[in-house]
Amino acid sequence: MTSRPIATTRSVMEVPTGRLAMWWVLASETVLFGGLLGSYVMMRLRHDAWADQAANTNTWAGAFNTLVLLTSSLSAVLAHQAAERGDGPKAARLLRYTILGGGVFLTVKAFEWTHEITEGFTVTSGLFWSFYYTAAGLHGAHVAAGMVIMFIVSLTAARNEELHRVENIGIYWHFVDVVWIFLFPLLYIAK
């Protein structure tokens, strides 16, 4: 006897349960990242010295990572499109491109952090750096989690199974992209 997850068989308020659950996850994530970014803005307004601290972050690395995430979002939405057309193998291939984008993002971040820590800027070097490592680290953890889940989804999608998951993980990935869109100017440009 086979059983299917309830997310694939039930639709609440005309939204499939799986996608509905994803929206609720993102609603809670909005508060999580919103609170963090709101706190950052609050503190930043009172600490002009933070502009000097932010001058030590690498704008070009941040801009490159933004480009990488925007491009990975493109491949994620194209994967969703392929899934809607019933082309699971293509969706899986595009999801793996997205995973690759996440890998590039984290690699650049690792080089950045290595350089900054070598220069002596650690999480205890001041409020700015505490926020910097907390916000970028939390975001990086979400990128890593998304990559793992996306890989699992790509395995089933390649067999043309559970294609609705392609959209759900895509929505999550776009949200991670949106968070970075706000982190980039806050951490790299406001100098």
Partner: protein
């Protein structure tokens, strides 16, 4: 129709998604180059104003909030409103240097080198 598709949803084709991505890349370029002028107002507009536009475009076209059920957007909007309540409630104290029985003693450490120590607040 697949069970995961939006009901009666107008879909974008591949070209339009690439076009939206192109616009996002151009906006990214502007948000990087704009602040280089060193004008504070221009920095705010190009960095943060454009970030809002980019986020809106990703939510609308990539996350398909434009064709999702309206109440999904309302839920997310409500969460953003909660964030504003948090900001409005806490910011007045955070933005002050002293209060009735407290004074901010925190001093931002020197920018060069990471061995700086941080002070505290009471």
């Amino acid at each position: 129709m697949p069970e995961h598709a939006h009901a009666a949803a107008p879909r974008h084709d591949e070209t339009s998604y690439v076009a939206i991505w192109g616009v996002l890349c151009v906006l990214l370029g502007v948000s990087v180059l704009g602040p280089m002028a060193g004008i504070r107002f221009l920095t705010l507009i190009t960095a943060f104003g454009i970030a809002i536009v980019k986020a809106y475009m990703v939510c609308r076209y990539f996350m398909h909030l434009n064709i999702e059920k309206k109440w999904v957007a309302y839920i997310l909007g409500f969460m953003l409103a909660l964030m504003l309540v948090f900001f409005g409630g806490v910011a007045p104290d955070v933005l002050r240097h002293e209060g009735l029985r407290w004074q901010k003693t925190y001093v931002e450490p020197a920018t060069l080198g990471g061995a700086a120590t941080s002070g505290g607040e009471r």
